[in-house]
């Protein structure tokens, strides 16, 4: 049995650990969400359109869950949720590493596209684009979307 004098150090250390646990993920998250980078080009909706229209082999990847994809997505985008993204799945969707790929998810608060981009980069894809505004920007600008 612990006495009163034994409880206080336990609480103190417990609280310290909780605070550290809360602070540790922040730098990790920020490492996965680059705002701009020499290796990742961020595009907006019009940039995405230009990319797709300009480059015949450009691919648009919707990194959201399938349920979101079904409710509405950019016409021509394939659905590859970040949770299912790895080099293998990417290679099935985009066999060539030189093919331009545009990743998007719901919007600026969404981590899925960033995660998928990190994986794609790790897999060696050379032309990775990040539609940072995501589906929210697409809808806000009144561009058509497709329901499945």
């Amino acid at each position: 049995m612990l006495g009163k004098s034994g409880i206080r150090p336990v609480i103190r250390w417990g609280c310290l650990c909780m605070i550290l646990a809360m602070l540790i993920p922040l730098p990790a998250l920020s490492a996965h969400m680059p705002e701009t980078a020499a290796d990742v080009a961020v595009v907006d909706a019009e940039g995405l359109i230009d990319l797709v229209v300009g480059q015949e082999h450009a691919m648009v990847v919707d990194t959201r869950l399938q349920s979101d994809y079904v409710r509405g997505h950019i016409d021509g985008a394939i659905n590859l949720p970040n949770t299912e993204t790895d080099c293998r799945s990417l290679s099935r969707a985009v066999p060539r590493l030189s093919k331009p790929i545009v990743f998007y998810c719901n919007g600026t608060g969404c981590e899925r596209s960033a995660e998928s981009i990190r994986i794609a980069r790790a897999c060696g894809y050379e032309h990775v684009y990040w539609f940072r505004g995501g589906f929210e920007e697409w809808l806000a600008k009144g561009y058509p979307y497709l329901k499945q």
Binding site: A45, E46, L48, I49, V52, V53, V60, I74, D75, G76, G142, Y143, P144, Y145, L146, K147
Partner: protein
């Protein structure tokens, strides 16, 4: 005209009731206004609601159409045949879309689908009926125009619009075909009516939907089954198209019966509240009014009634609690009551007190006399009544001034009070007349004892303003019930006794029936004389005055006679003394002057130039009006003042007051002659003879009559004649009835004589005849003023 008086309570109640009625009226009016306001408000709410619902349904319809379009264009098959521009296959594919779920399930009523190239040229077409493309049927051409004008990225965006068409209305949606690598467009035409009629369910009220061209788009069964229009609210909502044109007219009707019922219920509650509020306000107001105003006012009113009933409550303070105004009113009321109390006491004192002597006045005395008589009748309690009149008071008043007279009265009053017992009442009846009420005195001996006591006290010497005075009093006593059981009778009898006591200088006298005869004569005299003046019962007799040496007529003396209808001729000495005590003396003097001067003027007119001599009373000299009277009458009859001689009694000459001197000087100043009558008969101040402007002295006839029979009177007459001559006056002998007396007087040097020897007093006609006869013997000269 009737005037209605409301109590304050009723007035306040009525006002509150009126206010309540006004409140109810206001509630009714407000209710009606509110009802209209509610209806207007309800209509606006319905319109806003319909706007929201209709536009929501329209948006959903457009979205569904856009989804359908996007779904169709996403087909690789369509895109392939589109790229190949294979019209037949495109049309076939498009026609298949009418069997999609949304269409077959009537979620959308798809009417036309167009496949357009990038320049909006029609590449394929399909409609519900499998008809052929006709440019005329293309919906919402304005939308195509709008789409053509777009550039850049906006060409990728979906365009939609509502517009009127020949067949009713259409929703047109343009979606890009071919995804982001756009190759053309799809234009979908949808009839939105089936979707829009759902607004009836959304609104929960019957709908009648019309197209802009007036055609009926839809009408619900409930619309036709609507009840009477009394409780229905009709309103409409217009849906406009993309160009601002009217497309639909939504007609709704709402049953307002529940609302009206609610309003009625609210109104009834308001009525109830208003009635209860009014009742409560009335109750509270009446209670407050009762406490703050009515109760205090009632208290003040009760006190006023008490004061009215018994004045002794005047001045009592009333303390009330109420509103500020009422409290102030009560304070002012108390102040006024105190002032009135003081005033009332003063008035009471003035009304019941003789202000000079502080004794009870005549009114109080008669009241107490009445009470005493009443008690005597009921309880057989005797009392004595004394009426007292001061002797020589008039002399004091006339000669020493009123202020001395007033002090004398106060002193006498004080002495009388000291003589009285506590139960007695002594009062001043007026002038120098007092009265006393002595309860319990039955025996004459007791009243005599009291009268002696009064006489003794009053007779004590007085010293007022440097004058040693002695004042007597005459007392008349009457006993109740022995001498009467009536206040007036007792007063009259005491009065009679008092006059007898005064005339006989007895001090006091108890009433006896034998005194009545004289008394009645005296008491009636004044009234009768007043009647005599009016009825011509007074006459003037004249008696001439003769110059003894020359035998000429000097003047004629006017002597008043009273031809009494019952008592015969009354001589002046029988009524003048009494008349002198009343104001009638002035009227009588006026009468004598007027008639005697008229007669004198008549004689002068006939050439009978003779002087006139008139007797004046002492009372005439109190008033300067006698000067004006003589002056005006002399002037009126055109008689020179020197023809008129005024005879003053010796008692007149005793009066040594300023007023008398002033009047005598005034008369003398007019040019009248003055004489002293009855000289030697009374007490007389010899100093006055030299001081007053006299012409002659008339020796009293008592001396002349006795002179004939005794030496002492002869010596007195001789002395008086010598006295007159020594101070430059003429001596006149009165009552000369025999030639011996005339000769003796002539021998003593007497200047003039008057008596039966020459002429008995006679009326105007006889005197006129006598004068005519006498004056024809020789001329007359006007007497000269000495």
């Amino acid at each position: 005209m009737n005037r209605y008086h409301f109590s304050m309570r009723a007035s306040v109640g009525l006002i509150i009731l009126l206010m309540g009625l006004l409140g109810v009226l206001l509630a009714v009016t407000t209710g009606n206004v509110y009802q209209r306001f509610v209806l207007d408000n309800q209509r606006e709410i319905f319109e806003d609601l319909a706007d929201i619902k209709v536009n929501l349904i329209l948006s959903e319809t457009i979205q569904s159409t856009a989804d359908l379009g996007m779904s169709i264009q996403a087909s690789e098959e369509l895109r392939k045949v589109f790229r190949e521009r294979d019209g037949g296959k495109i049309n076939a594919y498009l026609h298949d879309q009418f069997h999609q779920f949304v269409v077959s399930a009537s979620l959308l009523k798809l009417m036309q689908v167009y496949a357009l190239d990038k320049d909006f040229a029609v590449v394929g077409y399909a409609d519900e009926d499998g008809g052929r493309y006709s440019p005329r049927d293309m919906p919402c051409r304005g939308l195509l125009q709008q789409a053509r004008q777009r550039e850049g990225y906006s060409r990728l965006k979906i365009l939609s619009g509502l517009c009127a068409s020949e067949s009713g209305a259409r929703v047109a949606v343009i979606v890009p075909l071919g995804g982001l690598r756009m190759e053309g467009y799809l234009l979908l035409g949808v009839d939105p009516t089936p979707n829009l009629v759902h607004v009836e369910e959304e609104m929960g009220m019957p709908l009648r939907l019309l197209f802009a061209n007036g055609g009926l788009a839809y009408v619900s069964e409930e619309w036709n089954a609507l009840p009477g229009q009394e409780n229905l609210l009709f309103w409409r909502y217009s849906l406009t198209g993309m160009s601002g044109e009217a497309v639909y007219d939504f007609h709704f009707s709402a049953d307002m019966a529940p609302l009206y019922a609610k309003l009625d219920e609210t109104r009834q509650i308001m009525f109830l509240i208003a009635a209860l509020s009014t009742f409560l306000a009335m109750a509270v107001s009446v209670v407050m009014l009762q406490k703050s105003a009515l109760d205090p006012l009632a208290r003040l009113t009760r006190h006023l009634r008490r004061v009215r009933k018994d004045k002794k409550h005047l001045g009592e303070k009333v303390t009330v609690k109420g509103s500020q105004e009422i409290t102030e009113l009560s304070e002012r009321f108390n102040e006024m009551s105190s002032e009135l109390h003081v005033l009332y006491k003063t008035l009471e004192r003035m009304a019941y007190t003789d202000m000079l002597t502080r004794l009870p006045n005549r009114a109080v005395f008669y009241d107490r006399l009445g009470q005493a008589v009443h008690m005597a009748q009921r309880q057989n309690t005797p009392f004595a009544l004394m009426v007292m009149d001061l002797d020589k008071f008039k002399w004091v008043n006339d000669n020493l001034g009123h202020h001395v007279g007033d002090k004398l009265l106060r002193e006498i009053a004080s002495r009388l009070k000291r003589c009285m017992r506590k139960s007695d009442t002594v009062a001043r009846l007026g002038g120098d007349e007092f009265a006393a009420l002595l309860p319990g005195i039955l025996e004459y001996e007791d009243s005599r004892h009291m009268a002696d006591k009064i006489l003794e006290h009053v007779a004590q010497p007085l010293y007022i303003d440097g004058h040693d005075l002695s004042c007597g009093v005459s007392i008349g006593i009457a006993h109740c019930p022995v001498h009467g059981a009536d206040g007036d009778l007792l007063m009259q009898r005491a009065d009679v006794a008092m006059y007898h006591a005064k005339n006989q200088r007895q001090g006091f006298m108890i009433y006896e029936p034998r005194l009545d005869e004289h008394s009645l004569n005296r008491l009636d005299l004044e009234r009768e004389l007043e009647t005599a003046i009016g009825n011509g019962h007074l006459e003037i007799h004249y008696q001439p005055k003769i110059d003894l040496r020359e035998g000429k007529v000097i003047d004629v003396e006017a002597l008043i006679r009273w031809r009494h209808p019952l008592r015969g001729y009354l001589l002046p000495e029988q009524f003048i003394p009494r008349i002198e005590q009343s104001n009638l003396i002035h009227r009588m003097t006026q009468w004598v002057f007027a008639h005697a001067l008229r007669d004198c003027a008549s004689w002068h007119a006939r050439g009978l130039m003779v002087g006139l001599s008139i007797n004046l009373s002492r009372r005439n000299l109190d008033d300067t009006r006698i000067i004006d009277l003589a002056k005006s009458l002399l002037s009126q009859h055109g008689i020179e003042p020197a023809w008129l001689s005024l005879e003053l009694s010796e008692s007149v000459m005793v009066a040594d007051s300023d007023r008398v001197s002033q009047v005598l000087e005034g008369l003398h100043g007019l040019g009248l002659r003055l004489a002293v009558d009855h000289f030697g008969g009374g007490h007389f101040s010899l100093a006055s003879l030299g001081r007053l402007p006299l012409e002659e002295i008339k020796i009293d006839q008592a001396f002349i009559h006795k002179m004939c029979h005794g030496n002492s009177e002869t010596m007195l007459v001789r002395s008086m004649i010598d006295l007159a001559h020594n101070i430059g006056l003429k001596a006149v002998a009165k009552g000369v009835e025999t030639p011996q007396a005339r000769d003796q007087l002539l021998e003593m040097g007497c200047d003039r004589a008057q008596g039966f020897l020459f002429c008995v007093p006679c009326g105007f006609e006889d005197m006129t005849a006598w004068l005519e006869k006498r004056l024809s013997q020789g001329p007359q000269v006007m007497p000269r003023q000495s």
